[in-house]
Amino acid sequence: MNKTVTINIAGLVFHIDEDAFNKLDSYINAVRNSIQKESEDEIISDIEARIAELFSQRIDPQTGVIRMNNVDEIIDIMGKPEDYIIEDEPQNNIQFTTNTKGYKKMYRDSEKRILGGVCSGLAHYFNIDPVWMRIIFVLLFFLYGVSILVYFILWIIIPKAVTVADFLEMKGEPVNISNIEKQFREGVSTSYQKIKSTGNTAADTIKKIIGVCFVIFSSTALFGSFFIPVIFYSKPMNFANEFVNYNENVIGIPFWAIGLSLFLMCAVPFIILLLVGIKLLNSKLKHIGWVSAILGFIWLIATFIFAFVMINIEIEDDKIKDLLDDNFETKLSKTELVLKENDTLNIFFEKDQRIYSINDTIELGNKYSEVNDIDVDILESNTGKSYIEIEENFFNNNLLNIKKLGKFNIDIETNKNSNTLNYNYSIKSDTLVLSKTILITLNDFTEDSKVRIKVHITPDKTVKINGNDKEYFWNLNVENGKNYYKFNNNGELENTNQL
């Protein structure tokens, strides 16, 4: 039994036995190697025209098939590849040293390969056993895995030996018809036959493993991606912040489109990864490239939409913050500290007691929050009296310019209690109790609330800082365990650590 292939030579169609075709193909390749490169195609087409002519004279009238003996006959008529060399063209003689020794080229040996045939190819080039080459690569692997990178680079840049001529060049044997025939007789380097029987080589196994990993990973991630729009729609308010509602008219993109683009942004890369995984498992799958390109384009659009929305939301958010900056009110209070001579002022920090009662009475806990932007400074008093100054900076929604905010879709809950809940402190003779936090109503913007406390004391007084709350003294060098501080003659506050 013999397989027949259909070929087209110089516009004529022939049926030719497969082995005869292989030989003819190798012959033409060998001839191509021995003729001048510039007019190669023209000469080859002339030769092919002649071959077609000779074939049409010789074709078996009964079967209509070209057989091996026909090809042999034609090669006898046409001559060996070296017969095509014109002697006075030196460039070919250098390249093609038919009569003496072969010109060696580096190819990947796809026949004796384990992965890509790089090692066996290199082994052919350096004329050593491929095993040594593989040992070198395995040893190099332990050197920071250098060999993996080197291997893949070589895999890419070294061409694969495909034709019989390639195999001969790889082994450094002259490419002439007698060698090609020898190759065929030995039945070794027929890459055509190779195609038919793709063995389960290590490369295929690795491909399959990577493919399975890709498929599992990407399908899991894809499954997860489906929850993104669900989460997104369940809490649309948290999209930017608690104030800015999504306003389709301002941004110009419907709300569902953001959810969709967010989903696509997450899902598309995994879809592509999934396709690559499937392709690795089943190499016959087609059009992966096209589908991926289209998906990539969709991904770009989705990313663009999402980025566009986010940038606009951010711009809107900033504008609102600017407007709200005008709504901070400053309250100043000044209280005299009544202290005896050489007395000590005790400073305590306490958690605001009201927080417990408030949390009990208010259902939505997040309407009240604690802010600890508190700075305590101890200064020398020049007036001869000790006093405390407290400066509160808090958000006052009574000042809110609703007109200005009108074009934004802002939702601020006005709370009547908001102004009553300010900084809490108490003074009882020589004891100053400061709250550790500022209790504020509302949310985001009001977190810019702050308290600045200035304790002015006369030089004869000592300040005792109780507890380890040095973080409230930004400008003073207060250390844990050193509680007593007094102003010295130079007007500097220094640690005395005594009664």
């Binding site: 110089a10 000469i43 077609a52 006898d76 046409m78 590849p81 009569n99």
Partner: protein, 112 residues
Amino acid sequence: MNIENTKAQMRKGILEFCILSVLKEKDCYTSEILDQLKTAKLLVVEGTVYPLLTRLKNDELLSYRWEESTSGPPRKYYRLTEQGNLFLNELQVTWKELSEAVNIITNKHSHE
């Protein structure tokens, strides 16, 4: 020294001259040129002729045209150009001188 090789070299040297001479008579397509050369036993294998024809054409000594054929692929008909004609005339002179020289030498040796 390979005798076959030497023979092939000698043939190749005069092949160009012969191709031009064939085409001087009339325009021929490739197979016709090959037939004439083979009949004259100048040619053993056809291979050499194709690169040679292309080179002569590239040197503008020959030009060609395509003609449809009923029995096979279209045929490439070569013809001698003006330049080719001049070139051939020069070669003919050289050949004449050479063959006379060779005759004299070979005859002298064979008479000895």
